[in-house]
Amino acid sequence: MIEIKDLHKSYTIGKNALHVLKGINFNVKEGELVAIMGSSGSGKSTLLNILGMLDVADEGTYTLDEFPIKDLNETKAAKYRNKFLGFIFQSFNLINYKSALENVALPLYYQKVPRKERNETAMKYLAKVGLADWASHLPSELSGGQKQRIAIARALAAQPKVLLADEPTGALDSKTSYEVMQLIQEINDEGKTILVVTHEDDIAKMCKRVVQLKDGVIIEDKYVEQVRASDHV
């Protein structure tokens, strides 16, 4: 599903060039649930941003579902993001003046899906995350766990090939974290490819594969025995 070859990325801060990714080679097959771990500064967020086409690599190739991602301009990147990727953020990033339903429908709006169909689809995904009853509520009326579930529904709504989750449980307590992870596992069970950036070991253990990054290189890449989140709830 994802193929990355010899990825380099450096940032220039003042006079110093900060080499963040120093040749990453990394493949993800369809249906995988991958945890990307590393301390802060290890380059894990940069890697995710490049995967999410929010940032461009200096060197190396990136292929998504046998589709080479290169020569991106902003418009093209926006289209690809919309079509291929679903984002889940640490701080949920819901639009606070839109209802849960409208938030979920937003990626479909940018796909120019007609409003009725859009709302039906959004409702379906809200039901999937168990929040159909909360469709008309504003994010401010929801708890953190509920917000993240809305965000997951939104990421799913556009039926992306890959879900990218950046510290999805970073702002949640353990119990809610496990609930969210349970949802992510369920989605993965249905065959969706998911990448989770985290620095929490227990969250990483709930994935099927753990990739350790340190100082811009992968130091460890192993498949693990998945811990079901439902065991903790």
């Binding site: 926006a78 919309n82 953020f89 990033n93 940018y110």
Partner: protein, 419 residues
Amino acid sequence: MLIFNRDTWQEIFGSIQKNKSRTIITVIGVLWGIFIYIVLSGAAKGLDNGFEEKFEDVAMNSMFTWAQQTSVPYAGFKTGRPIQLKLKDVQILKTRVPEIQYIAPRIVKGAFGGESGSVVFGQRTGSYSIYGDFPVLSKIATQKIYIGGRFINNNDIEANRKVCVIGERTQKELFAKDVDPIGKFIRIDNVFFRVIGVKKFEDGGGFGDDGDITIPFSTYRKLYNTGNNVGWLAIAAFDDADVMKVEEDVKMVLKKIHQISPEDERAIGSFNLGEIFNKINGFAKGLTFLSLVVGVATIIAGVIGIGNILLISVKERTKELGVRRALGATPSEVRGQIILESVFLTLIAGIFGIVLGSFVLKIIDSATQETDIPYTNPTVPIPYVIGALFIMVVLGTLIGLIPAQRAVSIKPIDALREE
């Protein structure tokens, strides 16, 4: 099209509603601008109309001339000699100044100091200015006679008829309400005159009032024994003539006839409405221009306010815009949305401003209805309104470009990082 998409509008309403008070304050900025614009240009137009209405009864290229005393010794005469205009001057002027279309010799008793005519009808009396006039006067200054009556005609002049046209006030003061004055006889300085018409008083920017009585010139000279004397001359030049030049020519001819020094500035007085009218017209035009400038400047200030607020709003919405872009909004969609917000706010404000402005104009109009203020039908021409709306849309777009560009220049990754 983005503009006709219901969803686009939903997005715009969503983000506008998000911050109601800010939206309202922003809108008030532009609303105030267009309001000022509408009220000012409407008021200027009203004044313009008012002046025009005041002068519509007087030929714009008309002038008056009268004789005074010489101030320069000339041809053996010493200074301070009083000059008297004569009826024969009229013919000479007509032949020597071809630009003259109409010339009406006039004479009056009472208007410029001196004794007014004492007028009696039945038990009622009054004193009024008595004018001796020729029918041609009506070509220079429209004489509005109430239905049933008429103005002096040539037969009256030739037959020295004792007929008169009275003013509205004269009628009110001499006649009871239910009495039709036409055909009645009134006594002017002990001579009976038949009333042939009642004149509606129009302020022509000169002398005269609503009590004036007009009698045939020929009758006047017999009644008051004035011979061939003329009080002053009312002259209308042809439409294409330059009334200022006519004024000069007329004065030169009169100076020649009455042996006045060409350098004598005081012997012959004159006054031309064209000049006055041009001045007033220029004033009204200047006012219109000023109101346009002020109005447009205020609109610009208001629209800049919208741009300013949208810039702040974009800053506040950095994260939201980042999320939208991460979810697949293209830069042009983001840009389009911000610009549409700007244009929409501008237009809404503009429409409210126009409505409010028209309302205020209406109030001013009815307040000045019964007054002397020259203010009539204060309208803003439709092209001005459309022009203002157009300017607003263009400015709204241009000013919207700034925050829109700002919004697009924020990379989604930076937007999302901003925690």
